[in-house]
């Protein structure tokens, strides 16, 4: 018998499966019509979905608001770009990013987890801003121009190779990769370790008396989120062929939080839907006006006021009830 938290996670999986099917349909349609623009846009949406996923692990499960997740997304993007410019290997870039994220995430986690609540939010914000300014002013990292000229790579998947320049091929690679990150996160959150994170969000003060050191658990959540954000960021230069310091700026961190809140905090799958919604919205509105940030701001305010649980906060319980009914009969 699955408990309530496992059942809500299953409802998220149903919604994730729907997203995968829709994405495959989208990819097939895109390939058939010879589209590039929308496939690239969809790929970007999925990459930022990975960043939003990491924010949801912290905000929706552990109860930590990070306003500096762009630090790790940017770290992944820069590391990946640097590795690819030396050796055009997908796995080398991903491996270097994972190791880099564990190291930097552990250091950042030690600093940020000394405090809680609003102070945690401010420290994460501060750390990301400091690193962003450092990168912005470092000539070796391309300063304000970023790193340009990241080569197109062939991603070796054992049985076959996919070029990062193929719109549909790379879309499918990113889709697979982000779904794996989602599945790993979902698996982890349904283990005793993951439930401990949920306990931290629910009532951190009781947790030490259950026999756990809360700092260790929060640090572990922080590092896991850092790795997921960085691995998502590592895909960015493969898509765009460049990285810019804007990836490290607050707008990136802030958008990820907006994505999660709009999509549904504490649902995981909300991060994926939220990112697609927001990316699409930005592109559509951006084609009419350059003041699209005003519209995004209004959308966010609307979501907070009218959909306080976000899009998936409304849809998921419906799925959950269906699943429960199915299980009982």
């Amino acid at each position: 018998m699955a408990d309530a938290l496992t059942r809500s996670m299953r409802a998220s999986h149903v919604l994730a499966a729907v997203l995968v099917v829709a994405s495959l349909g989208f990819a097939a349609f895109g390939a058939a019509s010879g589209d590039t623009f929308y496939l690239r846009l969809g790929t970007e949406a999925l990459i930022f979905a990975g960043l939003a996923l990491s924010v949801d692990i912290l905000l929706g499960y552990t109860g930590l608001l990070s306003l500096g997740q762009a630090l790790y997304f940017g770290l992944g993007a820069y590391l990946s770009a640097l590795v690819l410019m030396v050796t055009p290997s997908f796995w080398a870039a991903m491996g270097a990013t994972a190791i880099g994220a564990v190291v930097v995430g552990t250091i950042g986690g030690f600093i940020a987890n000394r405090v809680r609540g609003v102070y945690f939010a401010l420290i994460t914000f501060g750390m990301a801003q400091v690193i962003a300014k450092v990168v912005y002013n470092t000539r070796a990292l391309g300063a304000s121009d970023g790193l340009i000229g990241v080569p197109v790579i062939d991603i070796n998947l054992g049985l076959f190779k996919i070029s990062s320049a193929s719109p549909v091929g790379f879309f499918l690679v990113v889709l697979t990769f982000i779904i794996i990150l989602y599945a790993l996160a979902a698996y982890l959150l349904d283990t005793p370790f993951g439930r401990l994170l949920i306990a931290l969000r629910a009532n951190e003060r009781r947790v030490p008396f259950l026999g756990y050191r809360t700092v260790t658990a929060r640090l572990a959540a922080y590092v896991i989120a850092a790795v997921i954000a960085a691995l998502s960021g590592a895909l960015y230069p493969m898509l765009r062929g460049f990285v810019s310091p804007e990836l490290l700026f607050f707008a990136t961190s802030g958008n990820a939080v907006i994505t999660v809140v709009t999509g549904g905090v504490g649902t995981l799958v909300g991060a994926l839907y939220g990112s697609i919604l927001l990316t699409l919205f930005k592109s559509v509105v951006g084609s009419y006006t350059e003041h699209h940030l005003i519209v995004i701001g209004l959308l966010f305010m609307g979501a907070v006021i009218f959909l306080p649980r976000g899009l998936m906060g409304i849809v998921r319980p419906v799925i959950e009830r269906r699943l429960n009914r199915g299980a009982k009969s």
Binding site: A2, D3, A4, L5, T6, Y187, L188, D190, T191, P192, F193, R195, L196, I198, A199, A202, N203, R205, R206, P208, F209, L210, G211, Y212, R213
Partner: protein, 247 residues
Amino acid sequence: MSASVLEVRDLSVHFGGLRAVDNVSFAIARHRITTVIGPNGAGKSTLFNLISGAVRPRAGQVLIDGVDHTGEPPHRLQAAGLARSFQITNLFFELSVAENLRLAAQILEPMAMAWRPVAASRTALARVDELLERFGLTDKAPYPVGKLSHGEQRRLEVAVALACKPKVLLLDEPTQGMSHGDTEDTAKLIKSLSSDVTILLIEHDIGLVMSLSDHVIVMHQGQKLAEGTPAEVRGNPAVQTAYFGHA
């Protein structure tokens, strides 16, 4: 192994000028119910905070099974076999009753199980069922704690503390705010627990204290005023003056 499972030696803590707990020493015997009584502000809850690691003592020692655990944080004391409940219900309100118990019981699982789905945690889940049954909460298992009555929340508070199978259980006013009937049921439950765990209790209901306790410790203004069997304490003139308010 020493006969007293929990021993406190010259324990003190000061808050500003206030001697909240002042040179308190006692030892409690295995599988007995020891109750700490005293007027409001006598230092009972602070004493619990010192023993459970919530507050660091300024002086003195806390020994569990003869091993010094003074000043250790709560999670270490839990590992040493000490668990506690709180005077003000301190649970995971948005989570279900069963999940509250499972979270408290998951420490019983080997470390490797931390990375397997919770549905595979047989030991913890069996413990949850056992506690639900024992505390009469089986029907309430799927409900969020916030939906329970006050009495049910108080009972769950004790069950969550007990879930990790501690050697010593500190219960801070488990019957606080309960109806008369609930109080009696809880007293019976606590009595039944003492066959496998040593209990240190804070309680205000004198009738309950007298019927439930094997041993009573009286605190007054941060100090231990007296200790003994319920009858001895009741007959102590100093206790009568300080606590019962008449000589």
